[in-house]
């Protein structure tokens, strides 16, 4: 944008420091060549004694900075209010940190579990889930995760909600009772705080230490003092599991060794049974497969969904036939936008031609008629089409009154593709007429007269002489109409019925109703890419230089 060199017009009209710089450079070169015997003449100097080259470069830099400063407000505005939110939204299409952030232990524990094995994971994974879910429940994050995973596997939402209600009441108080029976000082939170300050203890009880850190971090964030709150069953459970695993070797505190010696005889609680009690779906390997498949921080899942594929525990597959919808909608959106663009050209071209060939006064008056729709609310115009096109509407009533169609078989013109095309053509027509009109105004009528005087028929004169000159207007109008209609939302929603809706209607649904923003972002990204592709194809075929707005 700050590159003034590319604005060819400026180079042609007025000399810039840039030209002078080239000039100076070539001057230098010439002088060097003309100075045989090493007795080089000094570089050309500016009036203040600095070398001309440097002084010009400085002038150029200053000019560029000034240009940049002038556009800076707009640039910053666009960056902050347009580019940044779009980039943020698009980023959501791959972002998937919620699983690994909410279930960090589970995600690690699941690494070695084989999702193809057809059996749920072993107890250690359930222990990891127990800790994760307990903390997530306290933070109210488990239902959010459930909603996220429910997009991939039906039923996970209530699985997490139900289990969240139960996770604080698991039978793991057995461990609490047995440990505190051996040594009541474990009941005192101060014991735990002191215990967890020693590195040796932490090394001997790794799982407990990690869980303790997460739990106390949560307590602190809530304004509670970990040294004053009762110790939860979940921490006694991790303590038991650690001691059974490591035997507490290396622990600095004798109390740990005391418990470690006794854990072999403890009554145990099967965590997988506890979870299965809360909801039997925890024994379904598919649920675990889904958690594992969506554990990475970034996922192609949303993009796969938006092209009617899905990421399952068993790899990437096509969606069942009865759920495929997005490819169909993408194709329909592109197709209908093309049809709308074509109808705008067909309807707009003659209007623009008349406007361009009428005396200015009359043309201006008629122009108001073209602009009038711009001053009416989009919703009003769309609803007006509803009144016009519906079966008990104005057009059908007139046709029946004229006897052209029978009362029983009134035409169906709305809540389908036809209705959408009619309404959107009408709404977008000014975007075609205006660029066409301004281009046609610049076409000299003398060319047509010259063609005719040289013997061309009316059609040849139009097709060979007039039409090629109006192509830049068609180009500009088509790009405007096509891109606008691809992203149209409100009109297809109101008059589109089931066969006339666009992909944008699904995007809106996922943004505001299903709250699946990741999928909406992926659909939006694909739409953006499609528009850019269209633009590129257009550039290849017609050439973007060949577009004129006036």
């Amino acid at each position: 944008m700050s590159d003034l060199k590319s604005t060819g017009q400026q180079t042609a009209d007025a000399p810039t420091p840039e030209d002078a710089l080239h000039e100076a450079a070539s001057l230098d070169a010439r002088e060097a060549a003309h100075a045989p015997g090493g007795k080089a003449a000094g570089p050309v100097l500016a009036a203040d004694g600095t070398p001309l080259k440097r002084s010009l470069a400085r002038a150029l830099r200053r000019q560029k900075m000034r240009a940049l400063a002038l556009i800076a407000p707009l640039l910053i505005f666009v960056l902050l209010t347009f580019i940044a939110p779009i980039a943020d939204m698009l980023f959501r299409s791959v972002e998937n940190q919620i699983v690994s952030e909410t279930l960090p232990e589970t995600v690690v524990a699941l690494k070695d579990w084989d999702s193809e094995g057809g059996v749920p994971p072993a107890d250690p994974v359930f222990a990891a889930l127990y800790v994760d879910l307990f903390i997530a429940e306290a933070q109210k994050l488990h239902t959010r995760l459930g909603t996220r995973l429910n997009y991939e596997k039906t039923g996970v939402s209530s699985l997490f909600r139900k289990t969240g209600r139960r996770v604080g009441r698991f039978d793991t108080d057995t461990y609490t009772d047995q440990i505190t029976a051996l040594d009541p000082s474990w009941e005192d939170p101060a014991t735990w705080v002191a215990m967890m300050e020693s590195d040796a203890n932490r090394a001997a009880l790794p799982f407990t230490a990690r869980s303790w850190d997460r739990w106390t971090a949560y307590q602190l964030s809530e304004g509670d003092d970990p040294a004053k709150e009762d110790i939860e069953d979940v921490l006694f459970t991790t303590l038991y599991l650690d001691l059974r695993e490591t035997g507490g070797t290396g622990a600095a505190d004798a109390r740990i060794a005391q418990i470690a010696a006794a854990v072999g005889d403890f009554d145990t609680v099967s965590l997988s049974e506890q979870f299965a009690d809360a909801d039997k779906d925890w024994l379904d390997p598919e649920v675990w497969g889904t958690i594992k498949a969506f554990a990475p921080n970034y996922t192609p899942g949303y993009f796969l969904n938006s092209v009617d594929m899905q990421k399952t525990p068993h790899g990437i597959e096509a969606r069942p036939e009865n759920q495929q919808i997005y490819m169909k909608l993408f194709k329909r959106t592109i197709f209908m936008s093309m049809v709308i663009t074509l109808s705008c050209i067909m309807l707009g071209y003659p209007v623009a031609w008349i406007l361009a060939n009428l005396p200015t006064r009359t043309a201006n008056l008629l122009m108001i008629l073209v602009l009038l729709p711009f001053w009416t609310s989009l919703l009003v115009r769309t609803s007006a089409w509803k009144v016009m096109l519906q079966q008990q509407g104005v057009i059908n009533d007139t046709l029946v009154w004229l006897g052209i169609v029978g009362d029983a078989d009134r035409l169906v013109m709305i809540n389908n593709q036809f209705g959408t095309i009619v309404a959107m053509t009408h709404i977008l027509l000014p975007f075609m007429i205006l660029p066409l009109y301004s281009v046609m105004q610049t076409i000299q009528p003398t060319y047509l007269r010259a063609a005719k005087s040289l013997g061309a028929t009316n059609w040849t004169a139009f097709w060979r002489v007039y039409f090629p000159q109006s192509v830049p207007g068609i180009g500009a109008g088509s790009v405007l109409v096509c891109i606008l209609s691809i992203g149209y939302y409100i009109t297809p929603e109101i008059v589109g019925g089931t066969t006339g809706t666009f992909i944008s209607n699904r995007i809106a649904y996922h943004i505001s109703s299903s709250l699946n923003w990741g999928l909406a972002a992926a659909l939006g990204s694909i739409l953006l890419a499609a528009v850019m592709l269209l633009y590129w194809v257009y550039d290849k075929i017609v050439g973007i230089d060949n577009v004129k707005l006036g």
């Binding site: 109210k140 239902t143 909603t147 759920q323 089931t498 699904r506």
Partner: protein, 368 residues
């Protein structure tokens, strides 16, 4: 001069003293609702009496309930929640609660007890379907039909919707699977208490879509609550589903030749949620307002303006006549025994789980 200003100071402190309590509360609040007749009924029944009691409080209404969940999530992410109280349907309240966007509350603490001393928790009973949801009204999605287009035998069974021979013409159904799938299964011979078990299976979903497929060509799918009333008024459709309050206004206020088909109406709830994380002064104001606006009398008052049933058991006997039309409102309530012979209660848990899955199938089916 000095004495004068001192006196003025003393006078103003004396004036301010009783306001000290109120000073802890924000003096404006933003309420979010659905717009239209429903919001008007809330303004009449809740906010105007409240403002009469607290003239210094400014109440701003925002008509964003339809996108409330998405907007609230966006506000929360931006760290700037500008709403103080949001009117949402129960399903949305559950989702907001799940997402941690709505505040959990204790009914007996936040809400007023009934005049007879019944605690709020008991008075609202099972209608508190989520820890964040403060119920206001019971509404239903039911059918209305054109009395002049159905001949001598007006429809009285939900399955008449699927009967194209007796009732030819178009029908309107909502462009989403919820309710439609249940009705389809009911009319495909599935017993009422098995509907959700059947609907949980892929075969059951196919079955429901197949039943809907028998009338698919005669259906206009609506997405805004105002569509069906307009289509009925224009005679575009023979019958159509929408919220019962909308049908009431077509029948009683606009006097269109339309009547209610209450059979298998689906009850749903609408109420308030308080956004999570409000600053203390705004929260105090909202709590004060909610305590007032959900008491027994206020809920009963709302029924003067719109035909939705109050969510409190103790409000039901107080429902009187329409404020302008002067007709008895009780027979127009979805909860009236004559209307509630055969009803369905929106199954929140089921739809929270199956919504995405069934919606994908439903939309793919629609697009075919």
């Amino acid at each position: 001069m000095k004495i004068k200003s001192l006196a003025a100071l003393a006078a103003s402190t004396a004036l301010l003293a009783p306001m000290a309590m109120a000073a802890d509360m924000a003096d404006s609040m933003t309420l979010v609702s659905w717009g239209g007749a429903y919001q008007k009924s809330q303004v009449n029944a809740y906010s105007e009496p409240y403002m009469a009691m607290h003239p210094d409080v400014e109440v701003v209404w925002d008509e964003s309930s339809a996108e409330a969940v998405a907007k609230l999530r966006a506000m929360n992410e931006a760290g700037n929640v500008t709403w103080d109280l949001v009117d949402v349907v129960a399903a949305d309240a559950i989702r907001l609660c799940d997402e941690g966007l709505a505040m959990e509350y204790d009914p007996d603490d936040l809400l007023a007890a009934a005049p007879d001393g019944t605690s709020a928790g008991d008075d609202f009973g099972d209608l508190i379907v989520s820890d964040c949801f403060i119920p206001q009204i019971v509404y239903s999605t039911a059918f209305g039909y054109r009395t002049d287009l159905v001949g001598d035998t007006p429809p009285d069974d939900i399955c008449d919707v699927f009967d194209l021979e007796t009732y030819p013409g178009k029908r309107s159904l909502e462009k989403r699977p919820i309710n439609n799938m249940e009705w389809a299964l009911l009319c495909d011979g599935v017993a009422k208490d098995e509907v959700y078990d059947v609907l949980a299976t892929p075969e059951g979903q196919e079955k429901a879509l197949a039943k809907l497929g028998t009338i698919k060509d005669s259906v206009i799918w609506w997405s805004a609550g105002a569509d069906t009333p307009q289509l009925l008024a224009d005679g575009e459709i023979v019958m159509g589903s929408t919220y019962n309050g909308r049908l009431f206004s077509v029948i009683e206020e606009q006097k269109q030749p339309v009547a209610m088909l209450w059979d298998a109406q689906v009850f749903d709830l609408d109420g308030w949620i308080i956004p999570a994380g409000l600053p203390a002064d705004r929260l105090a104001r909202v709590k004060d307002f909610v305590m007032f606006a959900t008491d027994t009398q206020r809920l009963a008052d709302q029924a003067k303006y719109i035909s939705y049933g109050p969510a409190r058991a103790s409000s039901a006997p107080l429902v009187g006549k329409h404020a302008d039309l002067g007709i008895d409102m009780a027979p127009h309530m979805p909860t009236d025994p004559n209307n509630a012979k055969n009803t369905f209660l929106y199954n929140y848990e089921f739809w929270a789980d199956y919504r995405d899955d069934i919606d994908a199938k439903f939309q793919a089916w629609l697009a075919q």
